[in-house]
């Protein structure tokens, strides 16, 4: 009987561990804004971003489809896709990174700040960045939030001089992922 209990505990724990390994979402959120005061708001939201966190290694990867970014102004969305991002040739933006000494067991509802170094790839151009992110665990889901700035020139995005003063030099990016265990 004792053996059975021990065996079931061991078995249960192993299953528990394998289930812990991967947290993911298909509905992560990325918002960016490059507005200039007193001009039309330049802001877009993509609520369909896929992301996976490996809780054993701290590795994190996110993928957003460029065509999934929605603007308030339809023409802005069109120009963003056709002229600036060329989203048919370069359909996605990807982030790959790894948190050092990641430990999922210390996560609580209280947000902790950690550094997430990694590579951002947009329009096929990769840039190394360290993203400061907030980590917490709410209702069994791991929540990752972060904000950072990107420069369009770093990804060879050319903004025509005619609209140059209506679009901010650097773009503010906000991300939020509520990752659930698989």
């Amino acid at each position: 009987m004792r053996l059975l209990i021990i065996a079931s505990i061991v078995l249960f724990n192993t299953f528990g561990l394998t289930a812990q390994g991967k947290f993911s979402t298909k509905t992560g959120n990325i918002t960016f804004e490059a507005s200039v005061p007193s001009f039309e708001e330049v802001k877009a939201v993509n609520g369909d971003v896929g992301a996976i966190l490996n809780t054993d290694t701290g590795e994190f990867v996110a993928l957003a489809l460029i065509k999934g970014f929605r603007f308030k102004v339809a023409l802005m969305e069109e120009h963003f896709n056709e002229n600036y991002m060329e989203s048919t040739e370069h359909p996605k933006a990807v982030f790959k990174g790894k948190m050092d000494n990641f430990n999922p067991d210390v996560l609580t509802e209280k947000v902790i700040r950690v550094q997430l170094p990694g590579t951002i790839t947009i329009r096929g151009i990769s840039q190394s960045r360290v993203i400061p992110v907030g980590l917490s665990k709410v209702d069994g889901k791991i929540k990752i939030t972060g904000s950072f700035m990107l420069n369009p020139e770093d990804f060879d995005i050319k903004i025509p001089s005619i609209v140059r003063n209506k679009i901010a030099e650097s773009v503010d990016v906000f991300v939020e992922f509520n990752l659930r265990g698989e």
Binding site: G47, I52, G68, V73, L75, R180
Partner: protein, 123 residues
Amino acid sequence: MKKRTVIVLVSLFVITVIVGYSYLYKDHRDISEEEAVEVLTAVRISERFTNGNSKLLLNNVVTVSGVVTEIEGNSLVLDQLVSCSFSELPELNLHEIIVVKGRCVGYDELFELVKLDQCLILK
């Protein structure tokens, strides 16, 4: 003569403003009004992307049928192959067979999913 010139100039100005405004602030596409370019099953549309035969689908309205295999937030997955996002997801059950119309956004290699947005359920 002078009065006529003024009228012509003013009406030209008004027309330019109206045309310019309607160009700058044209409406977003209405996916529910648009005709689907293709009607396919979840398996078929996924094959189109893995075969690299997706040019005609990208950014176009498609109708996709399949079994609901996952529901998360305002989106659902058909046959574990196609992710469909809604502005508001209607009441649905897993394993239901449904037909969805939406805009084809592209292919997510991370989850190996075709992505549709602005979806609505046809049946």
